[in-house]
């Protein structure tokens, strides 16, 4: 559908009728878009962490006895970190549009001039 018309909606001197719209801010395009709602992530590496803690409980928190579990935990943590980096670099799917952060950077470089100069 095309953009709804703005003709005769605002309270202006030349407008004889009652105003339809009473905006509290000027109707000018801002140089930023709103952020997306943050996706609900879940905690990673819970199983490795619980295995490691069970091992600690049995061996009185000595690290030498739990080497294998600790190493698994570290591997899981680094894999999760790598996955997170990949997701943030790719721009989370995109599907035609840029993510809000990149859009804001682009708009910063080419802003909408609301002034004449």
């Amino acid at each position: 559908m095309a953009t709804p018309s703005l003709r005769g909606r605002l309270p202006r001197l030349g407008n004889p009728r009652k105003p339809i719209l009473k905006p509290n801010k000027p109707l000018i395009l801002a140089n930023r878009v709103g952020e997306r709602r943050r996706e609900k992530g879940e905690a990673t590496c819970i199983t490795e962490m619980s295995l490691m803690m069970a091992c600690w409980k049995q061996n009185e928190f000595r690290d030498q006895a739990c080497r294998k579990e600790i190493q698994d935990f570290f591997d899981c943590a680094s894999r999760a970190e790598g996955a997170r980096k990949m997701r943030s670099i790719q721009g989370t799917g995109e599907s035609g549009d840029l993510p809000p952060k990149k859009l804001n950077k682009l708009l910063q470089r080419f802003p909408n001039k609301s002034h004449v100069s």
Partner: protein
Amino acid sequence: MAAPAVKAARGWSVLALGLRRAVPRLPGLTQVRWSRYGPEYRDPQIDKEYYRKALAELTEEEKYEQELRKTQLIKAAPAAKTSSVFEDPVISKFTNMMMKGGNRVLARSLMTQTLEAVKRKQFEKYHAASAEEQAAIERNPYTIFHQALKNCEPVIGLMPILRGGHFYQVPVPLPDRRRRFLAMKWMITECREKKHRRMLMPEKLSHELLEAFHNQGPVIKKKHDMHKMAEANRALAHYRWW
């Protein structure tokens, strides 16, 4: 190295190729801790082995990297870094953390005295021990230092996360550099605070390093306390979202 705090007005006086031009900032805000190098400057390669590799051994990427470095601007190497065989990045980092007021000369001398004290103590033990025990005593102060810091590194950390108006200590996996930093920070704080007024830092630090090497002592206890807190709060791990 340029003084860290620079007023925006002074930036206009030196405009050379590659040096950062002063961007007009908001009035009342001063830029601190900035570098005079522009983004096109690359970090220097201190490591001699990088240049000693024979041309045939290099992969395509490494050859490209080396050719690229010939044409690009490179920052000056900091005075604290050398390309000698005795250079140790862990010791450098520890010395920087011990440094107060920019007095790296003093911090470096304390570090060398610490390593010397460690070596002396180990040699005394070595000469006093019997033949079987002598094989088990480690005398190289650098291995003792590295092993002690590795023993002090926490495996898991705690992070305050706001949920329902309260802050909960949630167990969180730490990256490697954070763990190394915590180990060094705990060691230095422990040695600064819990020592007798007349005792010198090298003596206390060497004692703590030797204890940490044998998995005893207050720094290891602090690490275990952190682990115990994390274990007690393991149910809160679901408050993490990463």
